[in-house]
């Protein structure tokens, strides 16, 4: 298949998408508004803190073509799929969690499998591909999708996502419905040798006093077989979590895309009165990752805990920006972000804490620790505090450094090889964050996935020597 070097990131494409999905008029209008904003917004400044670790040249907007999704693909099923037929990250999740409230499996070709526990369906829970929900639940979808534009964000890619999204998921938890078992969402971006673009939106609504746990897996199932083209494919997401008064929502995301992917993501948490949100972002893949996680604590008593774990290898570049925005009194936010980097990988963490004048008695904490596992790896950490209230408790802390040689020696003195010792230290470093995420079995599932990645990434000295010997011959 040859690539036609002509982008379709155009206004025309909006009409095409809208009409092919038979979208309501308000949504087409919303898309056009986003497009206007996109055009009016400056391109990212490659020298700005949030962009300077990212290689913007790896993305060629003049070549990117949006994927053509088949809206009729896939089906509503009465059961979960056979785990054996899914990529390993997904099958491992199914195995660990055992009980699943709902399941959506999407690829760049479209939705493959939708399942929702019938009991939950009876209670009014909705789990649908977004393209269907905008018609079947137009009232709800319109109410929330049109709210987005009130929150200014300057990320050009997120605006483009709002204009051109062609994939997505809609989850709705009605008032007072409490669900312990998680929803499992998955997206497989296989890609091919052409530069493609997938824009997707995730809309999660937890109504008053409801409770839900969401696990979202992003991966490239045959990443190893992809011949990366010189410029990357784009996966751009806009994920929004509406946590209404008294609700509790936990959202975990695992990003394990292939090296052909430029990943851009914006996650907005809107937290209302006495509501609580937990986020966990785990990134172990993609060539370039630019991720913004914003928490808007909008009403009194709102509360959030944002966790992050990044493991970089090869030439991967990460830029994580967290925003803790306190707009009401007695609100709390806590951020704990840990990054471990191997090879030539790079990371920038920027943590913004904003406290509005009226947000007295705010408590906002931020911690970012970076472990450098090779001489070529680089990590940076920048806190930015904009505090207008006077009665607040805020703290931030950052560290960047190599693995503690005393820890390695201690482990090796017990017989563990250097490779095993390093793996232990890194896994332990991540565990301190992963263990804080409240959804049961998430820790074990992610430990397994990360452990496997570490295992292949930390070659033993013996293996390296053997490899060197082969190369010399």
């Amino acid at each position: 298949m040859s690539c036609i070097p002509q982008t379709d990131l155009t206004k025309n494409r909006i009409e095409e998408i809208s009409s092919s999905l038979a979208e309501p008029a308000w949504l087409s209008k919303e898309r056009r508004l986003a497009w206007e904003k996109y055009i009016a917004t400056d391109v990212p400044d490659p020298k700005a803190d949030e962009w300077r670790t990212i290689n913007l040249n790896s993305l060629d907007l003049s070549k990117l073509k949006t994927t053509k999704l088949n809206p009729n693909l896939g089906s509503f099923e009465t059961a979960l799929p056979d785990g054996g037929k899914l990529p390993k990250e997904m099958s491992a999740a199914l195995k660990q969690y055992k009980e699943i409230a709902g399941f959506i499996w999407q690829t760049e070709k479209g939705t493959q499998h939708v399942y929702l526990d019938p009991d939950l369906q009876k209670k009014g829970v909705i789990l649908l591909p977004l393209s269907l929900a905008v018609n079947s639940h137009a009232g709800l979808a319109e109410k929330y999708l049109t709210k987005t534009r009130k929150f200014s964000h300057d990320n050009k890619f997120s605006l483009l996502t709002e204009a051109l999204f062609n994939s997505g998921i809609f989850v709705y938890i009605p008032k007072s419905v409490e669900i312990e078992k998680p929803f499992l969402l998955g997206f497989d971006f296989v890609g091919n040798t052409c530069e493609e673009a997938v824009f997707s939106r995730l809309l999660l609504i937890a109504e008053r006093n409801s409770k839900a746990n969401i696990v979202n897996v992003l991966l490239s199932s045959n990443a190893k077989n992809i011949n990366a083209s010189p410029s990357l494919s784009l996966v751009s997401q806009l994920n929004e979590l509406y946590v209404e008064a008294g609700a509790k929502l936990s959202y975990a995301e695992l990003q394990d895309f292939g090296q052909h992917v430029f990943y851009n993501s914006r996650l907005n948490n809107y937290v209302h009165k006495d509501a609580h949100v937990d986020n966990l972002s785990v990134a172990i893949g993609a060539a370039q990752s630019k991720v913004d996680v914003a928490t808007y604590l909008q009403e009194q008593g709102a509360n959030s805990e944002v966790l992050g774990v990044v493991f970089g290898t090869a030439n991967e570049c990460f830029s994580y920006n967290t925003i803790q925005e306190h707009n009401a009194p007695d609100t709390q936010s806590d951020i704990n972000f840990r990054v471990a980097l191997k090879d030539q990988s790079k990371s920038m963490y920027q943590g913004i804490i904003r406290v509005d004048k009226k947000a007295q008695k705010t408590e906002a904490f931020q911690s970012n620790k970076n472990l450098l596992l090779s001489n070529g790896a680089k990590a940076d950490s920048i806190p930015k505090l904009e505090i207008l209230a006077d009665d607040v408790k805020c703290s931030h802390g950052a560290t960047v450094g190599p693995v503690d040689p005393e820890q390695l020696f201690y482990l090796m003195s017990r017989g563990l090889s250097q490779k095993e010792a390093e793996e232990f230290v890194v896994l332990g470093f991540f565990n301190k964050v992963l263990a804080q995420f409240p959804v049961p079995h998430t820790l074990e599932w992610l430990q397994g996935i990360i452990g496997e990645t570490l295992c292949t990434q930390f070659q033993s000295q013996a293996e390296l020597k053997a490899e060197a010997a082969v190369l010399v011959k």
Partner: protein
Amino acid sequence: MTKTILTIKDLHVSVEDKEILKGVNLTINAGEIHALMGRNGSGKSTLSYTLMGHPRYKVTKGQILFHGKDLLVMPADERARLGMYLAFQYPVAIPGVSVSNFLRAAVKAKRGQDVPIKEFRAELKDNMTKLGIANEFLSRYVNDGFSGGEKKRLEILQMALLKPEMAVLDETDSGLDIDALKTVAEGINSLASSDNAVLLITHYQRLLNYITPQFVHVMHNGEVIKSGDSKLAHELEAKGYDWITQELVAQA
């Protein structure tokens, strides 16, 4: 026939170009318990780290042989798998790594094969009971937030599981309360056998009330300047170190 486990010959060790050990000689045979005493800063821990292969301690001269094999060419993990063990004076915390995962990995590395989980659990329980370590410690992170005494107990628990031929215990008695001292001493005694050997580094006679060493050595300024039997420890307890250093001056 005596079987020599460890031979230290004219060992010179430097840290950051500063010579700390200045010609240490010591031979330890199977079935023996040796005590090593000496003032703060005399070089006891330097010797223990060097025996285990800490990369910061550079051997500039001399030899360390384990059953006649040159230990100096081996990294710490290889020494451990051969049968060397060091109970640290200051055990290191490994945040995020649970005690049970760590112990299982260590036992697997030492024995060269995975131990069936049930068997491992039973062995672990048994040793933990003996050492008075509560079950909850298994799910805690290695030495993370442990009290001084808890760390020392975990060091002995590891020794019990790894069954080293040559154990170096660096001030395992310090920081232990009176009851814990007895428990830990009993643990060490039950592990000492005619097939292995122990080098006890300590400041206090009170540990030696429970464990009787055949040999007591005094280290001073990077050298072993006096060796004797268990009576020497009593003498040190009563008189301190000055008389030995004075003897040394008189001899010179």
